[in-house]
Symmetry: D2
Subunit: 273 residues, 4 copies
């Protein structure tokens, strides 16, 4: 959501309803100005520093609402968040450079529905939301603590299009809207997850998988090939400098294999070969 | 610019002026609906399929303008454009994965002013504009043909916040607004370019340089160190699969060194040590 | 074979027999001095510039033979032969740095019997012979032209412990002595090759496979795992500088996966799990 | 030294002298058989299990000595020694794969004089001795403890052509014989070391430097360029598998830059340009 947003309202989508929706999404740091019956004798302008105060009021159906961010979110609205900006379990976060490559291979458009499966810290979901900013990003995670952490990171980032989904895959994917893009962080996921993804991804859909285990890479690749997809593999090897004795030394980060594939036009025929 | 945009107008910033501005920026595929004196007896609604038709009309000062995109741009509004999507000279384009790492290190925010120096095909500028979408991106290039190609790519991408600047650096940088972010694509640039960048970058500013030559890397790094900046070096090594005999083979892309540095708080003191 | 070699002879292993053996192995550039009945009244010393002249002579059973190299071999007796030193088909030679890693993982001792399977140009076999210099190196190759080229390279290198074997694997491996070390250059080889190698490698035996295809890597790895071996994978990524505009640029060579494994102590038990 | 070595003796180079020389070099695990006046009435054959027992005896000037190794050395006579085979300070040993690349770039011939400067654990020197087996390898190290460790490793490896030199460079290099090959392990060494090396390396000489610091790489490269040498840079990036949950994960080792250069034919002219 931007710095300053204007909304025209009607009987059902009125200012108090807007405020309640925002609060439910975790949006907190916005003020609201409500302009009722602008240009009419009944014109009235009220300013609210706190959205919770709006929720209980009633307003004219012909209102214009101006939302204004009170301050910047804790995290900048960028790609390339550092490890120390994102709350995460030690070692359980994809390095920013690898995330950048994975997200660029995902080719997310502003209106896309994105699934981030095995979301971990939610860093991928938060960054995906900078691109799917008019769409939806579902950060699916089984572990309760991690889900809490994802919600914290989303709130800190003001990344309100991200919704953390707490559940076990593939079951919990059933209720989610069809994805345009799917990111699978922990290899091929558990049994049935990749299969479900292949089914649910719509035409024009695209899938990116980060893998570090050689066997997982081959299993995911084989399943994709058998299903008639044509996966590509990108291996990302990053060296990062660290100061040493007044000079710089390059330290290697472990390589990551990034599988990427587009939904094939007609899967059925391919599967039969 | 989004799919559908609403603008309220006044005497100076009236619909015809808006249309003229848009045309000047290369925006073509939008229709415009102009609502004049809404809710008043003089209310009038007119729809224009072609912006050039709006430019000659006159309107009430109290108008509301609705711009609607007639169709998608030729290129998708994504990060991760493929080589064959971007017009470019053979071999003269940064590979998408490396661009992704460079842009993630640049940490561009929506309102930023970005300089892309030695812009080449403009691929970096176009992708930077997806992030600096409420800011400005200046793609500076000396070569006339390349400048034309950048303009083509910008138009094809609908990346209207990008402005191609044709000129010789560092001279041509003088007239540009202060940058928040600078991307230097061809090493350290010619004489005086990096020096100018260091001066012009404002507080909180950030610089990313892509280098492939070992000597250029050291020269840029030394200049930054001497100037009190603390550059980091990220080496990006990408392997990309290519089908071979029903299997996949990894092919290496040449490694790129990415220098990145934040504007130091107080340069002077550091320089004196 | 060294610069100067002394041999004491007897009735069956006499100087003419030695000369004939050397000629059969392709050894050409050695002179021979034969000392007959040293210290006895019948003492006689004859010098031969050409081994072929020795082959037809007869000698006392109590002779001492001194072989002296007439000049250096065409190729230096080193590890690290450049591509342009070894005769090879375009593109069909393992780069020297990768060969160095593969050979170091093979841990060849002076007395070892080494099989180089799918020997190609014979570069691996020639370099292996620098380490197995008191052993035997069999360079197995199916293609007739390549076998000729291997023989040329062996002669040019003076690598006389290398024997080129022309045949189809695994059949042609039957007649070869049990290997201590096996190098498999072209992935896992054809059907049955790797299986044969696993059987024939003796206790303490070691296997190294160079693979460039992801599927081949997994097939070889799986066969090794199932057979109770514990293969390790080393990925070698080499960047090599090339001069560019008075500076140096790093160019990437395609990465190679090197599988290495020791013969397990008791294979049977492992296979049953 | 081989498994079994025969030597003919004379008045000055007699069996006791041979035994004393061997002991001085640290050779311990050999037996000696001395054949005196073979074929003469005074013929006598004596066998010694311990070289120290030979040192005090006297022998005929016309003796033949047969040295036989009593058992294998503690370390195998190979390239590719593992970290846990070589005594070393934690972290202070070049990884075997990188050592393999460096040594292959050094192109050591059997008769070469090799300097290993900043020898550390002596692993490079020990492996170099497998190639310079008729030459000499000087392992130069300033640190007393490390020198002791080098001697231990040499003894354990039976690498008797290695001589550990305890001293400060470049001063301590003065007394050493001219090198054919120089390996510089710790970057460019201290002040004056590289300069000395460039002077002392004879025609046809070759130099290899392992560097991990970006600034050191450039300093060494610049000095070489200015001196008329044309150094090449090889960057070695190794990934090594580690078992993880029944699968294999690739772990990156830090990259190493390997500078290599041949002594130019006529340095003087080049320097003057």
């Amino acid at each position: 959501m931007g710095h300053r947003v204007g909304v025209t309202t009607d009987r059902s989508f009125h200012p108090a309803e807007i405020a309640r929706n925002l609060i439910a999404c975790g949006v907190e740091n916005y003020s609201m100005v409500v302009f009722e019956d602008l240009g009419l004798p009944s014109e009235r302008i009220r300013s609210f520093e706190d959205l919770s105060r709006v929720a209980g009021e009633s307003f004219s159906a012909l209102s214009f609402v101006l939302l204004e961010r009170l301050g910047p979110a804790e995290l900048p609205p960028i790609l390339g968040l550092h490890d120390d900006e994102v709350l995460h379990e030690h070692g359980l976060i994809t390095k920013p450079e690898v995330r950048a490559v994975g997200l660029s291979l995902l080719r997310i458009e502003p209106g896309h529905v994105v699934w981030d499966l095995g979301a971990g810290s939610g860093a991928v979901a938060v960054e995906a939301s900078r691109m799917a900013r008019e769409g939806m990003v579902f950060a699916v995670e089984q572990n309760t603590e991690r889900v809490e952490r994802i919600r914290d990171n989303v709130r800190r980032a003001g990344a309100y299009v991200v919704e953390a989904v707490h559940g076990t895959m593939p079951g919990c994917l059933e209720g989610l809207p069809e994805p345009d893009r799917v990111f699978l962080g922990g290899g091929a996921g558990g049994t049935g997850v990749l299969e479900t993804v292949l089914k649910r991804l719509g035409p024009g859909g695209r899938l990116v998988i980060h893998v570090v285990l050689l066997g997982s890479l081959e299993r995911a690749r084989n399943l994709l090939e058998i299903s008639g997809w044509s996966p590509g593999v990108t291996q990302v090897q990053i060296q990062r400098s660290r100061p040493l004795g007044g000079d710089l030394r390059l330290e290697a980060r472990n390589p990551v294999f990034v599988l990427s594939a587009d939904k094939p036009e007609k899967t059925g025929v391919e599967v039969m070969r």
